[in-house]
C-alpha cells in the first residue's frame, strides 16, 4: 500500500548518460548492452531496469539513469568500448534534475498539465515517456513502485516546475520535501 499522501521531492546525486547509436547496425547494441550489463530497451517508451535504469528516448537514443558517482566511469567505459562504432555518449548529469512524485494523487497531478494518459492500465510500471508538463518538456518514468514516478527536468526549468507542481497540487493531498 502506498501512503495516502502524495510526496514530491527533488532527488540529489543522480547521473544521466545520454547514449546514441543505431541498434540495428554494427556491434553498437551488443557493446552497449555488455558495458551496461543489461538490455537496451528497444520498444519505444519503455525502461530497462538493472544496475542502471535505461530509458528509451528515441529509436537511436537512450538515457542511462544511474548514481551520480557512477556516471563518470560509465561514460568512459562506454566511450572507450564504442570507439569503433558510430555512437555518441555524453554525460548530461549537470543539466538534469529528478523530481520524484509518489502517492495516490500523482496521476491526477500530472493530468493537470500533461496530455498523456496516465491511467494505471496505460502508463504501467516500466513505462517512460517524454512529453510536455505544463510549459516544460520532461521525461516521465514509472519506476515500477506503486504510484512512484520520476520526472526528469532540465535544470533551468526546475524552479518553474516545482512552482507549477505546488500550484497544480494545491487542491490535492500533497506534501513537498
Amino acid at each position: 500500500m502506498s501512503d495516502a499522501r502524495t510526496r514530491v521531492e527533488v532527488l540529489a546525486e543522480i547521473g544521466h548518460i545520454n547514449l546514441r547509436g543505431d541498434p540495428g547496425r554494427g556491434a553498437f547494441r551488443e557493446i552497449a548492452e555488455r558495458v551496461l550489463g543489461q538490455p537496451l530497451p528497444i520498444t519505444p517508451n519503455t525502461v530497462s531496469e538493472g544496475g542502471h535504469r535505461v530509458c528509451w528516448l528515441g529509436p537511436d537514443e537512450w538515457s542511462v539513469v544511474t548514481a551520480a558517482g557512477d556516471a563518470g566511469v560509465l561514460l568512459e567505459q562506454l566511450q572507450t568500448a564504442l570507439a569503433g562504432e558510430h555512437a555518441a555518449v555524453n554525460d548530461l548529469s549537470g543539466g538534469l534534475a529528478v523530481v520524484r512524485i509518489s502517492g495516490a494523487d500523482s496521476r491526477r497531478l500530472f493530468a493537470r498539465g500533461c496530455t498523456l494518459d496516465f491511467h494505471p492500465d496505460k502508463f504501467v510500471p516500466g513505462s517512460c515517456a517524454q512529453a510536455g508538463l505544463a510549459k516544460a518538456s520532461v521525461l516521465f518514468i514509472h519506476t515500477g513502485g506503486r504510484d512512484v514516478f520520476d520526472l526528469v527536468v532540465r535544470r533551468s526549468f526546475l524552479d518553474y516546475m516545482v512552482r507549477w507542481l505546488r500550484h497544480a497540487g494545491a487542491e490535492l493531498d500533497i506534501e513537498f520535501h
Binding site: G95, T115, S156, F157, A168
Partner: protein, 998 residues
C-alpha cells in the same frame, strides 16, 4: 414576498431560505432555486431590456437557451458578466443585476429606440454610420457605449482556475434519460466513461417530468442510476459541467463550475477546464422548445410552455394565475395540466383544427377550454402581459386573419414544437438534416466518432429516449472494443408521439411589415420584418442573412430563434427549409469565462522562468534581470544607488581596463559527432569547416535556405570528428531542431549524432586585459600564454582542480576566456573566479554591458541587428562566405533581390551633437522636408552610450549604407524633431582587433 411560490412540491428546500439582491432590491428564495426561479417566485417579470430596441423583457426559458435574463453576478474583481439567470444557482447573499437598461430597468432612456424602430431595421448600423466617413469617430463612441451586455471586471481576477486533461472511452454529453442510459450501458460494459451535464443535478428533463420510470417517479430513477455510475472507479460524473466545444479528433472541452453555486471568493478552484480526448462520444443534450412568432411575442410573461412546467414542477413556482397556453403540438398540453394543478386558470389555444389526442382528452377532463384552429395574433400590455388577441385560423399561412376574441391573462405559455440541440454535432463537423416528419433539423451524418441520442436525435417520447440512449451506449461500448452489457429497458409511462403542425409565423391581422413586431430572435431584436427586409435587399444565403439581421448571434447563439428564422427565410425565398439550411454552430455552446480559458497560466506561471546555475548569486548581488526568451539573465549589477547607466558605464570601463566576469550560460551548446560531421557542418555553416584544426575555434553563421542570417555562434573542433557548437540564447532549441531536420529528412545518409549540452554546461566569460591573470590565480592547469593557447582556440584544463573546457574567444574585443563547466559546479567556479580576481577588482557585468562592449566592436546580435530579412552580405560578412562549397542559403544570395545595391546594410551611426542616444528602432530619413508619408532610408538596431568612447554609438541598417560613409542623415525622433547623424564604420573601438589577440 414569494407570491408565485407553491406551497408544496418541487426540488427546493423550503427550510433553507436564501436572501439575494437583484438590481439592488432584496428578495428571498430557497436552496435549490436558480436566480430565475427565485425572481419568478417573487413575481419579478421584468428582468432586462432588449439589445437594440430596449424593449422590456422577461424570463422566457428555464435553461441555457434563455435569451433575455442576462445578468451580471457578483461584484468587483470576481464579477461574471452575461450569465443566464436560468443557470445561476441561488446562494445566500447573491448579488445580480441586469446587464441592459440605463438608468434603470423600468425607465430606460434608450427605449425611445423602440418608438423609432421603423428606422432601426436590419442593416441600420451598416447603412447609417458608414457615411460620412469622417463622422465615424463620433458615431463610434456612441455605438460602443450602447453595445454589448455586461461589464468586464476592471481588476485582476482573484480566483483560482485550473485545467485538467482527461481520457476516456466514452464521453456522454448530457445526463437526461438518453445520456444516463448510454452512460449506464457503457459503464456496465467496462468502459472508461465521463458523463457531464450543465445542470447542478443529473436528470435533465426528468427532473421536472410527470412521467414514471419502472413505476417510480422519474427523479428517483435518476438517483438510482447516478448512484450506480458514481460507484464505478472508471466513471467520472461531472455535474455543473458544460461540454462547450467539440473539436477535432474527438477532443472536447468542458467548463466545470466548481464553486460558483456557493458564493463569491470561495476557497478552492472556481472553475475547471476539462480537456477530454474521447474514443467515442454520445451527444445527448436534449432539445429546445421553440417559441411561436406573433405580434408583441416578447412581452414579459410570454414563456415557453416547457419552461412554465419546469418552474412549476422543479422549482414550485407558478409564474401566473390566469394562463393561456398557445401551441401547435401536443407537449404543451402537459403544461396546461401543470398550470391547472397549481391553481391557475388555463385556456389552450391550439393552431391545429383537430387539437391533441389523448392529452387533449385529459385536458378537457380537467375542464380546461381548448380553442382548436385558433391562433394568438397579438399580446396586450407593455411591461407585462395583460391579455391576448385570438383569431380563428384555417391553416393557410398566407391568409389574412381577423381577431375575434380577447382573453385577459398574466401568463402566456407558448410552444412551437421542438428543436434538437444539434450544436455539438455541428461543432464536430457533422451535418444537420431537415427531418420533414418531425419538422426539425436532426443530426445527420457524423464526421467524428460520435452518436446522437434521445430528444437531441429527434426522439420525443420518454420510452424512445431511453431506448435510443441504451442503443447508443451499446454501440459506442462495442466500438471501443467492449462487449456491450445487456441492460434491460426501463418501462416509461410516457410513450406518446408528439404531433405537431408547422407554424413558423402566425399570420397577422395586418401586413407583416407594418404590424407590431413579431420577434424571431429575442436577444438580437430580430423580427419577421427584418428577415423580409434582408431578402428584399437581396440577401439569399442563410449565413449572410444571419450577419445582416444578427439572427442567431449573442449569448444564446440562436438556441430559441434559429429554426423559426430559417423557416421564415425559406418562406420569403419560396424555398424548402432543407435547402435554406442552418447556419453553422461553433464553440462555445454557452459563453465561458476568460478565467477558465486561462487556467493556471497567469502571473508567475504564464511563462516559465529559466534560471542559470549561478542565478542565486546574481540575485544575492542585487542584479535586476532581463528576460531573454524564457531565461532571466542578470541585466547589470548596481553598486550602492547606481542606476542602469551609471552601473553599465562602470562595468564597461572595468572590463576594458582590468577584468569583468559574466554569466553566459544561456548560450545554446550542441555536441556534434560522427564520421560525417565535417561534411554535415560544411552544408550548414557558410565558412570552410574542414579547414579548422583540432583545438581551434571559428565564428560561424548559418543561413536559412532563403539566404537570410538565422543564427551565429562560435564552434570548436574538439576532435577529428567531434565539434562543440554554440548558438544564440534564443537559437538553442530551434537550431538543434533545424540541424536534426536536415539530418533526418534530407541527409539521412550522413552519420552524425547531435546532443544538446545547453543545460549540462554553464559558461562563465572572463574578459579584460587581466583575464589571463585571473585564471592563473585560480590555479589553471595549462599554459594560458598566447603561444600555447592562441586566440580562437579551445583547451581542456583544470581550474582549481575542477575540469573545464576553456575557450579563448571574445565577444568584447578584449583578451577573454570562456570557462565551460559542469553546471553542478558553476556557482562554485564563479565564486572561485571572483576570489581569484579580487586583486584586479574583477567586476561582474550583465547583459547590458555585454551589449555595449560588443556594439563598440560592431559585433551583431542575431535577432536584434538582424530581423530575418538580412543577408550576411548586408552585414558586411562576405569574408565568411565560402566560394568552394555549397551551403544552405548560398543559392539565394545570388538571387536578383539579394544583389541589389540599395539593400539595407549594417553601418555605424554617430549623433552629430555628440550626446543624443537614439532610441532603438528609430527610423532614418534623408529629406526632412519631405511630405508625409516620409520615405525612410533605414532604422537604428542597437544604440548605447559608450563610456569608453565618451559619446553615444549606434548600429543601423541603412539602404546602400556602406557606400554612404561620412554622409549625414536624420533620425526621426518621436517628438517630431530630426537629429542629424553621421554614417560611419560599424566598428567603433580597436578597429584592428589588437586587444583580443594579446
Amino acid at each position: 414576498m414569494q407570491i408565485n411560490r407553491l406551497s408544496q412540491g418541487g426540488r427546493i428546500d423550503r427550510s433553507k431560505p436564501l436572501g439575494f439582491r437583484f438590481n439592488g432590491k432584496r428578495y428571498q428564495g430557497f436552496a435549490g432555486d436558480t436566480l430565475a426561479s427565485a425572481l419568478l417566485a417573487n413575481g419579478v417579470l421584468l428582468v432586462s431590456r432588449s439589445f437594440k430596441l430596449h424593449r422590456p423583457r422577461g424570463i422566457v426559458a428555464a435553461g441555457s437557451d434563455e435569451p433575455n435574463a442576462i445578468v451580471q453576478v457578483g461584484s468587483g474583481a470576481s464579477t461574471i458578466p452575461n450569465l443566464r439567470a436560468t443557470e445561476v444557482e441561488l446562494y445566500d447573499g447573491l448579488k445580480a443585476r441586469s446587464t441592459k437598461g440605463w438608468p434603470g430597468l423600468r425607465f430606460d432612456i434608450a427605449a425611445l429606440n423602440d418608438r423609432f424602430s421603423p428606422l432601426l431595421g436590419a442593416g441600420f448600423y451598416y447603412k447609417t454610420f458608414m457615411r460620412p466617413k469622417a463622422f465615424w469617430k463620433h458615431y463610434e463612441r456612441f455605438i460602443r457605449a450602447s453595445a454589448g451586455f455586461g461589464a468586464a471586471p476592471q481588476r485582476t481576477d482573484p480566483d483560482r482556475y485550473e485545467h485538467c486533461n482527461a481520457h476516456c472511452d466514452v464521453l456522454v454529453a448530457g445526463a437526461g434519460p438518453a445520456g444516463l442510459m448510454a452512460a449506464l450501458v457503457a459503464a456496465r460494459s467496462g468502459a472508461r466513461v465521463i458523463v457531464a451535464d450543465e445542470q447542478n443535478e443529473f436528470g435533465g428533463a426528468l427532473l421536472s417530468a410527470s412521467a414514471t420510470i419502472d413505476g417510480q417517479p422519474a427523479p428517483d430513477w435518476v438517483a438510482t442510476v447516478v448512484a450506480e455510475l458514481s460507484g464505478y472507479e472508471d466513471v467520472t460524473v461531472l455535474p455543473r459541467s458544460t461540454v462547450f466545444g467539440y473539436h477535432d479528433h474527438n477532443f472536447l472541452t468542458l467548463a466545470e463550475r466548481c464553486t460558483d453555486h456557493i458564493g463569491e471568493r470561495v476557497q478552492g478552484v472556481r472553475q475547471r477546464l476539462w480537456r477530454v480526448r474521447a474514443k467515442q462520444v454520445v451527444l445527448a443534450q436534449g432539445a429546445f422548445e421553440r417559441p411561436l412568432v406573433f405580434c408583441n411575442n416578447d412581452r414579459p410573461g410570454v414563456m415557453t410552455a416547457s419552461a412554465v412546467s419546469t418552474y412549476i414542477r422543479r422549482y414550485a413556482v407558478c409564474p401566473g394565475k390566469r394562463a393561456v397556453v398557445f401551441t401547435n403540438n401536443d407537449s404543451a398540453y402537459e403544461t396546461a395540466l401543470d398550470l391547472r394543478a397549481s391553481g391557475a386558470t388555463v385556456i389552450v389555444i391550439d393552431s391545429r383544427s383537430g387539437g391533441a389526442g389523448a392529452l387533449g382528452a385529459a385536458v378537457r377532463k380537467e375542464g380546461i377550454t381548448v380553442l382548436a384552429a385558433h391562433v394568438v395574433t397579438d399580446v396586450t400590455g407593455r411591461r407585462k402581459v395583460a391579455g391576448v388577441r385570438v383569431a380563428q385560423w384555417s391553416g393557410d399561412v398566407t391568409a389574412r386573419v381577423e381577431n375575434t376574441i380577447r382573453i385577459d391573462c398574466d401568463l402566456l405559455a407558448v410552444s412551437g414544437g421542438w428543436s434538437p440541440a444539434v450544436h455539438l454535432h455541428s461543432h464536430s463537423g457533422g451535418k444537420n438534416v431537415w427531418e420533414e416528419s418531425l419538422h426539425c433539423f436532426v443530426p445527420g451524418e457524423t464526421a467524428q466518432a460520435c452518436v446522437s441520442a434521445g430528444s437531441g436525435n429527434g426522439k420525443w417520447a420518454l420510452d424512445a429516449c431511453l431506448r435510443d440512449g441504451r442503443d447508443a451506449g451499446a454501440a459506442v461500448a462495442s466500438r471501443c472494443g467492449f462487449e456491450a452489457a445487456e441492460v434491460p429497458l426501463p418501462s416509461a409511462s410516457d410513450t406518446a408521439v408528439n404531433e405537431m403542425q408547422p407554424l413558423w409565423r402566425v399570420p397577422a391581422v395586418k401586413d407583416p411589415d407594418r404590424c407590431p413586431k413579431q420577434f424571431v430572435d429575442y436577444q438580437n431584436d430580430t423580427s419577421v420584418a427584418d428577415i423580409r427586409l434582408a431578402v428584399r435587399e437581396g440577401y439569399r444565403n442563410v449565413e449572410h442573412v444571419k450577419r445582416y439581421t444578427a439572427l442567431g448571434f449573442g449569448t444564446d447563439q440562436g438556441k430559441l430563434g434559429n429554426i423559426n428564422g430559417m423557416a421564415i427565410l425559406a418562406e420569403c425565398l419560396d424555398e424548402d427549409i432543407k435547402d435554406v439550411g442552418t447556419t453553422t454552430f461553433r464553440p462555445a455552446y454557452t459563453p465561458v469565462t476568460f478565467g477558465v480559458g486561462a487556467g493556471e497560466n497567469v502571473g508567475e506561471l504564464l511563462d516559465p522562468v529559466r534560471k542559470t546555475a549561478i542565478h542565486e548569486w546574481h540575485e544575492q548581488h542585487g542584479a535586476p534581470f532581463e528576460v531573454v526568451g524564457q531565461w532571466h539573465r542578470p541585466w547589470y549589477f548596481p553598486r550602492g544607488d547606481e542606476d542602469l547607466h551609471a552601473a553599465v558605464a562602470r562595468e564597461c570601463l572595468a572590463t576594458r581596463n582590468s577584468v569583468g566576469i559574466m554569466d553566459a550560460s544561456t548560450l545554446g551548446k550542441i555536441d556534434a559527432q560522427g564520421p560525417d560531421v565535417v561534411e554535415f557542418l560544411e552544408r550548414i555553416y557558410t565558412h570552410n569547416v574542414g579547414k579548422m584544426k583540432v583545438g581551434r575555434c571559428a565564428y560561424g553563421i548559418m543561413l536559412g535556405e532563403d539566404g537570410m542570417v538565422m543564427d551565429d555562434g562560435v564552434m570548436a573542433r574538439l576532435a577529428e570528428n567531434r565539434f562543440y557548437l554554440t548558438t544564440t540564447t534564443g537559437g538553442a532549441a530551434p537550431v538543434l531542431a533545424w540541424l536534426e531536420t536536415w539530418l533526418q529528412t534530407e541527409w539521412p545518409e550522413l552519420e552524425v549524432y547531435l546532443t544538446s549540452l545547453t543545460e549540462t554546461y554553464s559558461t562563465i566569460a572572463v574578459a579584460g586585459p587581466n583575464s589571463r591573470r585571473v585564471l592563473q590565480n585560480a590555479g589553471c592547469s595549462i599554459d594560458l600564454e598566447r603561444e600555447s593557447f592562441p586566440f580562437m582556440s579551445v583547451r581542456s584544463a583544470n581550474l582549481a582542480g575542477i575540469p573545464v573546457q576553456l575557450f579563448r574567444v571574445s565577444f568584447s574585443g578584449e583578451l577573454a576566456f570562456e570557462v565551460n563547466i559542469d553546471s553542478r559546479y558553476a556557482e562554485q567556479m564563479w565564486r572561485l573566479l571572483m576570489q581569484a580576481g579580487q586583486e584586479f577588482d574583477i567586476t561582474p557585468y550583465g547583459t547590458e554591458t555585454m551589449h555595449v562592449l560588443r556594439a563598440e566592436k560592431g559585433f551583431v546580435i542575431v535577432g536584434q541587428d538582424t530581423d530575418g530579412s538580412v543577408t550576411p552580405v548586408d552585414l558586411g560578412m562576405n569574408w565568411m562566405l565560402s566560394k568552394d562549397k555549397d551551403y544552405l542559403g548560398k543559392r539565394s544570395l545570388a538571387r536578383k533581390d539579394c544583389l541589389r545595391e540599395d539593400r539595407k546594410q549594417l553601418v555605424g551611426l554617430l549623433s552629430e551633437d555628440g550626446k543624443t542616444v537614439l532610441p532603438e528602432g528609430t527610423q532614418l530619413v534623408d529629406d526632412t522636408g519631405a511630405p508625409i508619408p516620409v520615405p525612410m532610408c533605414g532604422h537604428v538596431t542597437s544604440s548605447y552610450f559608450s563610456a569608453c568612447l565618451g559619446h553615444p554609438i549606434a548600429l543601423a541598417l541603412v539602404a546602400g549604407g556602406r557606400a554612404r560613409r561620412d554622409e549625414t542623415t536624420f533620425a526621426a525622433m518621436q517628438d517630431g524633431t530630426r537629429v542629424p547623424v553621421r554614417i560611419v564604420s560599424s566598428v567603433f573601438y580597436d578597429a584592428k582587433g589588437e586587444r583580443q589577440n594579446v
